[in-house]
């Protein structure tokens, strides 16, 4: 019984760990770490540059589990909430939503090839081509 509980707990922990989202930038961006608010501000169009002053180009994933995870944990909104936020921004001429580039692999590739980019990927997909500035 105890063993079964431990196994279940391990399984749950593993699934949570797998769902963790890493916010990544280009290694040349000169950014070390970002708070949840700073990341949210960039992805919601409330800030357009890194705290260090460099221009930031956020890229979104297409709809899926990682995006939902990121929206809930970092942007603190559900999918409809994010959509409503961008409807406000867009129809007040204040900005357009970040470009959607695909899944974790596509985002990693984009960020690795663009010094201003910031994206988020499944933590398991992290490698040396990008730099992690926050995990959520």
């Amino acid at each position: 019984m105890n063993q079964r509980l431990i196994a279940l707990a391990a399984l749950l922990a593993a699934s949570y760990a797998a769902a963790e989202v890493a916010v990544v930038v280009n290694p040349k961006a000169g950014v070390d770490s970002l708070s949840q608010e700073q990341v949210a501000n960039l992805f919601l169009g409330k800030a357009t540059s890194f705290p260090s002053g460099g221009a930031a180009t956020p890229v979104e994933q297409t709809d899926g589990a990682t995006r939902n995870e990121f929206s809930t944990k970092v942007l603190k909104k559900d999918a409809a909430g994010v959509k409503a936020h961008w409807a406000k921004m867009q129809f007040t001429g204040k900005g357009t939503p970040p470009k959607e580039v695909g899944g974790s692999g596509d985002v990693k590739k984009f960020v690795a090839g663009n010094p201003n980019a910031i994206g988020y990927i499944d933590k398991g997909a992290v490698d040396g081509s990008v730099k992690v500035v926050g995990s959520f």
Partner: protein
């Protein structure tokens, strides 16, 4: 034909070029609402503002909320863009005609400071620049008690949008100058000249605080209002005080201001929003104070909400104080002499536009599809006895002063 050919050629060249470009410089989007509204009375009609000539009564109306907006943004340079928005909604004649709501150029002077010029959304309320985008708002429509106070939504001029990070918080300050004119129902025409204002917001995580102030030189007139002031001045040749009162009341390049404070808390689950506003004019357009408060809570794709809104008129007694001789005949009906001073004073007092009403609303928003929200809303509108309200009363109907009206609305909001 020779004129069409270059255009056709340009289009045939531009379209594939735009389609082939990895990232088009043009971004098209749109929003809209299809709404149906019904009330429990035929005494007057419920409308969403002073521009709508008719609204909903016991027969359902599609015109109160339905609209369609199309927007195109051209990003010609990383720091230069142009935006145009066309809005189709019932106009002051009740016809659906497309209007150019916005057309402005935006130049980013720095990443935090941009300059815009052209026709721009007037940031008079907390949500005024997206008041038409139902999808971005919780209710079937912004609280009418508050939002009907200012019937203009855009201006022609320039603004600066300055955004400054303060730690993790964001301060946005938007000063603007310009002018506009607007047409309202029943032949009323308005002009807002020398518009100067500022809109400021401060965002602390889930909390947004807002304060704004706008002042204009206001003109609001119509053929019947002109006749009325003409009649007052004729009386003024015989009775002292009347000409001065006409000058004081006539809305002809008169100073007017609108100020408001507001706040929104939205943490993804709980939504709390409220505004307090004041309209002041040195004319027959009355001073008003209005506010609303809304609370909503999200359960998955459903958000039930409650809202309360109220508006009060600060009575201008300029007309009340006029000297009038005793009537010699009735003002209406058989043997009426409507040009008697007492009748003109009465007409003036009823022309003064303001409202004394309050609305309690209950509703639910359902995010039915990824870009469609459905809302059902029930409003109970309480109108003060002997006062004006934002309903429109068709000829021959008794009106709803002193009555409570139930309003039922179903709307579908979409963005694309």
């Amino acid at each position: 034909m020779s004129k069409i050919r270059p255009l056709a050629l340009a289009i045939s060249l531009a379209l594939p070029a735009a389609a082939m470009a990895e990232e088009s410089i043009f971004h098209f989007s749109g929003f809209g609402t299809v709404g149906v509204v019904q009330t429990d009375t035929n005494d007057a009609q419920y409308r969403n503002g002073l521009r709508q000539p008719e609204g909903a009564d016991k027969s359902a109306s599609l015109d109160v909320d339905s609209k369609l907006g199309l927007q195109v943004v051209g990003k010609f340079h990383p720091r230069f863009s142009a935006t145009a928005q066309v809005l189709v909604q019932p106009d002051e004649e009740g016809d659906y005609k497309p209007e150019l709501e916005w057309a402005f150029a935006k130049f980013d002077l720095t990443p935090d400071l941009s300059l815009r010029g052209g026709r721009i959304g007037a940031p008079i309320f907390l949500i005024s620049d997206f008041r038409n985008v139902g999808y971005a708002n919780p209710w079937a429509r912004p609280p009418v008690d508050v939002y009907a106070q200012v019937p203009l939504s855009t201006f022609d001029g320039v603004d600066l949008v300055w955004r400054q990070a303060v730690g993790d918080n964001t301060l946005t300050v938007q000063p603007f100058v310009g002018q506009t004119d607007f047409d309202l129902a029943f032949d009323l025409e308005g002009e807002a000249k020398k518009m100067v204002g500022v809109n400021a917001t401060y965002e602390i995580g889930s909390l947004l605080l807002r304060a704004g102030y706008t002042q204009i030189d206001l003109t609001v007139t119509s053929p019947s209002i002109k006749t009325l002031f003409g009649a007052m001045r004729t009386v003024g040749q015989a009775i002292p005080g009347w000409s001065a009162a006409a000058d004081a009341l006539e809305a002809k390049d008169k100073k007017a201001s609108f100020s408001g404070i507001g706040a929104t808390w939205d943490d993804g689950q709980l939504l709390v929003q409220g505004e307090y506003t004041q309209r002041r004019t040195e004319s027959y357009v009355e001073d008003t104070n209005a506010w609303y408060g809304t609370v909503g809570y999200r359960f998955g794709n459903f958000m039930p909400y409650v809202s309360y809104a109220s508006i009060e008129t600060q009575h201008d007694d300029t007309a009340d104080r006029l000297t009038v001789p005793a009537p010699t005949a009735p003002c209406t009906g058989a043997g009426a002499v409507p040009t008697q001073p007492i009748c003109i004073r009465g007409a003036m007092m009823s022309a003064m536009s303001g409202a004394d009403q309050s609305t309690t609303s209950l509703g639910v928003r359902w995010n039915a599809y990824k870009n469609i929200a459905l809302k059902a809303q029930f409003d109970r509108v309480k109108n003060e006895a002997g006062k004006d309200n934002w309903f429109t009363t068709p000829t021959g109907k008794p009106g709803v002063a002193g009555k409570t009206v139930n309003v039922y609305s179903l709307v579908a909001d979409f963005v694309f």
